[in-house]
Symmetry: C2
Subunit: 106 residues, 2 copies
DNA sequence: TATATACGCAACCAATCGGTTTCGCAAGTA
DNA sequence: TACTTGCGAAACCGATTGGTTGCGTATATA
């Protein structure tokens, strides 16, 4: 089953949930109140987020607080690192390379 | 139609294509040779990437070179910014907040 | 103890996804 | 002019997705 962080953040509702619980842990019902959706739909999103360890459930009586595992977000940051290198310093060299290749093929 | 950058990078093959053409622009056939897939499948991925402007086609004779629009990657970086703030400086304050809320509910 | 609340889980559904096959077109090449 | 090559587009297919509905269960409350 494809259950990684990139697939998790692909859905806009899921991204909104992440932003919401980044501030403070929340229950499925509390989260659902913030969107135009049902508790069950939110629960499904939380399941996806939990499965890829982006979120952690914390039982408290009959309520379950879902907390964002902020460290997991670093995985995206880490993947972006390779591109950051390009856009921060090598963008002109890259353009030169592309021009060179273009001329070679002509 | 859901066609944003987050959906674009959700697919592992698409992420691999992005990494590949970050180094230099490539044709669909050349890209397909790097993976265990067909030219048509790659073409479909390139279509998704083009539609969300992560990639730009450059016709050259009968070949089409697909070039990564590196600037578009900054959108992900920008979205991450809000979380970077948390994991870089506010993580202990956040934990304190959560503890406080927990105690209030007990 | 009866009732209400908070939740996960399973079944179901329409829409979308990733992939294949087939086609047609344009650009090179013999 | 024929033939080959590189490509996009469309039709099709099984798998997955996001959502709903209807349970069952555990916790809190009257």
């Amino acid at each position: 089953m494809r259950r990684d962080i990139f697939q998790a953040i692909a859905d806009p509702t899921r991204r909104a949930i992440i932003v919401l619980i980044a501030v403070q842990a929340m229950t499925p019902n509390a989260i659902a109140e913030h969107f135009d959706t049902t508790r069950q739909a939110v629960s499904k999103h939380l399941k996806v987020l939990t499965e890829c360890e982006l979120v952690q459930p914390q039982q408290q009586g009959r309520e379950i607080y879902y907390k964002l595992q902020i460290d997991k977000m670093k995985e995206i940051d880490h993947w972006l690192e390779q591109f950051r290198k390009i856009w921060e310093s090598r963008f002109d060299q890259l353009d030169n390379l592309l021009e060179t290749l273009k001329k070679q093929q002509q």
